[in-house]
């Protein structure tokens, strides 16, 4: 006698969004580095910041007559921490893309996943959604938590140093910083979409060495440079790897320092979000088209892989 009784004809269909959510969740179970690496870096940043605060406490008497320099010195670590966190999440996401489809084939668990009522598109899109969708709120939250922790730790420190608890509060425009970080994460993720998708495609194509295959454009750029045969690949790569900020933000230099000492510590350039510029750029949409094409190829490859 079966435990279920006779098979029922029409089971309740599982919601596609629910399936996507479970598939994303299972990616985080498998690839714990997605959240562990940023968490470790966040802790290191916090420890480094506390140490820097201590060092600053020693130097503060010298800077006490230079409010502009102090302000810059107070804000700079927050920008640096946000950038470091974004770089960490980007690298972690890239490593994830390189590994995720290939690892299913290496350990033969692909047979288990293929035994489930999920299409290849469901599986690959869920994997693509990790760096392109799920990591955005996670990364934003991690950055904000890190910055908030730095803020609290810094405020406590400055309170003890005699500058008062409001020193950091006045120096750091919290709302600006939070919105800047969130917007930066969002645009950077979309900007890097073709890179993530490119590595996903190679992860679907080969069991091992996806990073090497995916890194071929870098090799091409180096070859181009060595042989002096133009700079097409180099400039393409440079734009895609480093160009997100150019399209997503309008930057302006801070007002000229009035005193010589202030020039010793320049505040970071001021960034203003430029969503219209970003979303109307050909480069952004071209990148998304390539990302879609690479993901489509990854789905095709995964579907055709029958020789396990």
């Amino acid at each position: 006698m079966s435990l279920h009784g006779s098979p029922s004809a029409a089971p309740a269909r599982t919601n596609r969004l629910q399936q996507l959510a479970w598939n994303i969740r299972r990616e985080f179970w498998e690839h714990r580095s997605l959240y562990l690496a940023p968490a470790v870096v966040a802790i290191l940043i916090l420890v480094g910041y506390v140490y820097a605060c201590y060092r600053m406490h020693v130097e503060l008497p010298k800077l006490s007559t230079l409010p502009r320099a102090m302000q810059a010195a107070a804000i700079a670590p927050f920008y640096a921490a946000a950038v470091a966190m974004m770089a960490t999440v980007t690298l972690t996401s890239l490593a994830y893309c390189v590994d995720t489809l290939a690892s299913d084939r290496r350990d033969r668990s692909i047979l288990f996943w293929k035994s489930l009522p999920l299409s290849e598109a469901d599986s690959v899109l869920a994997k693509a959604a990790v760096p392109l969708l799920a990591m955005i709120p996670f990364e934003s939250a991690m950055i904000l938590i890190t910055l908030a922790s730095m803020f609290i730790a810094g405020s406590a420190f400055f309170a003890f140093s005699g500058l008062g608890v409001d020193f950091l509060f006045n120096a750091v425009r919290w709302a600006d910083l939070a919105s800047l970080a969130t917007y930066g994460v969002f645009t950077a993720t979309l900007w890097y979409a073709p890179i993530y998708a490119w590595f996903l495609m190679w992860s679907a194509a080969v069991k091992r060495g996806a990073a090497l295959w995916g890194g071929m454009p870098l090799v091409a750029a180096i070859a181009e440079r060595v042989t002096g045969s133009g700079d097409r690949v180099q400039s393409l790569l440079k734009e895609r790897l480093l160009g997100a900020g150019d399209f997503a933000f309008v930057t302006r230099a801070p007002a000229a320092a009035k005193d010589a000492a202030s020039k010793l510590i320049e505040p970071a350039p001021l960034y203003t979000p430029a969503p219209l510029k970003f979303f109307s750029s050909t480069e952004f949409w071209t990148g998304l088209l390539f990302a879609a094409a690479f993901i489509a190829i990854a789905i095709y490859l995964r579907r055709r892989q029958s020789s396990f």
């Binding site: 435990l3 029922s8 089971p11 479970w22 498998e30 299913d104 692909i110 009522p117 999920l118």
Partner: protein
């Protein structure tokens, strides 16, 4: 008596009764890898409620056939599984099909409780209570990772996940590979007791022929991409006889046109199809051949043409 598992194509008809509905129907099913022919124009019908053993040597085409049935690989020819085209409609098909390959395919990083959560989340026919009940009979810890479990435990976990799916077709590809005899017996006992009923169909591909013989309703031998043997167990019992004969009566036994002859422990074993058991009994000991005896005869000798195989 239930409908024969395999009949010539022109006699195959369904009457709407679930007990005789076709679960799998293939015509001219072919698959090639470059110049290698994995499946060679296979015609196959499997009725609902059967337990079919798919048996063949390595490279015979078992996995290729299962891959086609499960929609894991493209193929040529016609194939219908539970009313679906497996290659085109795999995701939908897999709502009604449960597939267990060898125990090594469960991801090693997966925790037992996560596997239950995940299955409950994505599979519309998964019954978590059934899986929990099955696991409660084992010593598997919910927080354990698959990689920390023994092979036997992994098999139990995989079976628990499979049994909890209210599937119409269960496909097993070497499900007990690497397990000891005890776990293998437990596996098949659970399969029969907890999963099987007349509305469900099971296909088992394995090398452990003798271990599964008692649970099968049908046996298929595949070799060189062709089905070289297709019989229900009832037909095997009715049609095939094995005669053990001494040297002095060997010529008389051979005169009755055996399908296959082999020599063992000083006696000769001759396999017959359609021979009168009473006549054979005058020459020696007669018994129904085991599947492994038939396998040796049909696969080693490539006798599909001379045996009157129904294909």
């Amino acid at each position: 008596m239930s409908a024969p598992f395999y009949l010539p194509r022109k006699t195959l008809k369904t009457n709407g009764d679930p007990s005789t509905m076709r679960c799998i129907e293939a015509h001219g099913l072919s698959k090639t890898f470059g110049k290698t022919v994995a499946l060679n124009h296979i015609d196959l019908q499997v009725e609902t409620g059967r337990i079919v053993g798919l048996i063949g040597p390595n490279g015979a085409g078992k996995t290729s056939l299962l891959n086609a049935i499960l929609g894991l690989a493209p193929y040529e020819g016609e194939l219908n599984v539970l009313g679906f085209n497996p290659w085109q409609q795999r995701a939908r098909l897999m709502e009604d099909v449960c597939f267990v390959a060898d125990v090594a395919i469960l991801p090693r990083w997966l925790r037992v409780n996560h596997s239950l959560d995940y299955m409950a989340g994505i599979h519309p026919r998964f019954n978590r209570t059934v899986a929990e009940g099955f696991l409660a009979k084992t010593t598997i810890q919910r927080r354990s990772k698959v990689g920390d479990l023994s092979k036997g435990m992994i098999a139990q976990l995989h079976l628990a996940l499979a049994m909890a799916i209210d599937a119409k077709l269960l496909v097993l590809d070497e499900p007990t590979l690497g397990l000891d005899l005890l776990y293998r017996k437990q596996f098949y006992e659970s399969l029969l007791n907890d999963f099987y009923d007349k509305d469900r169909t099971i296909i088992v591909a394995t090398h452990h022929i003798d271990e599964i013989q008692h649970i099968l309703t049908d046996a298929i031998f595949i070799d060189g991409g062709r089905l070289v043997f297709n019989q229900s167990m009832e037909d095997i019992e009715a049609q095939f006889s094995e005669l053990m004969v001494s040297n002095d009566l060997l010529d008389d036994a051979r005169a009755l046109n055996p399908l296959h002859t082999r020599h063992t422990f000083g006696r000769h074993l001759l396999l017959y199809r359609g021979a009168d058991p009473n006549v054979l009994a005058t020459l020696g000991d007669v018994r129904t051949p085991s599947l492994s005896d038939l396998f040796m005869a049909f696969v080693n000798n490539q006798p599909s043409a001379q045996t009157g195989d129904k294909q």
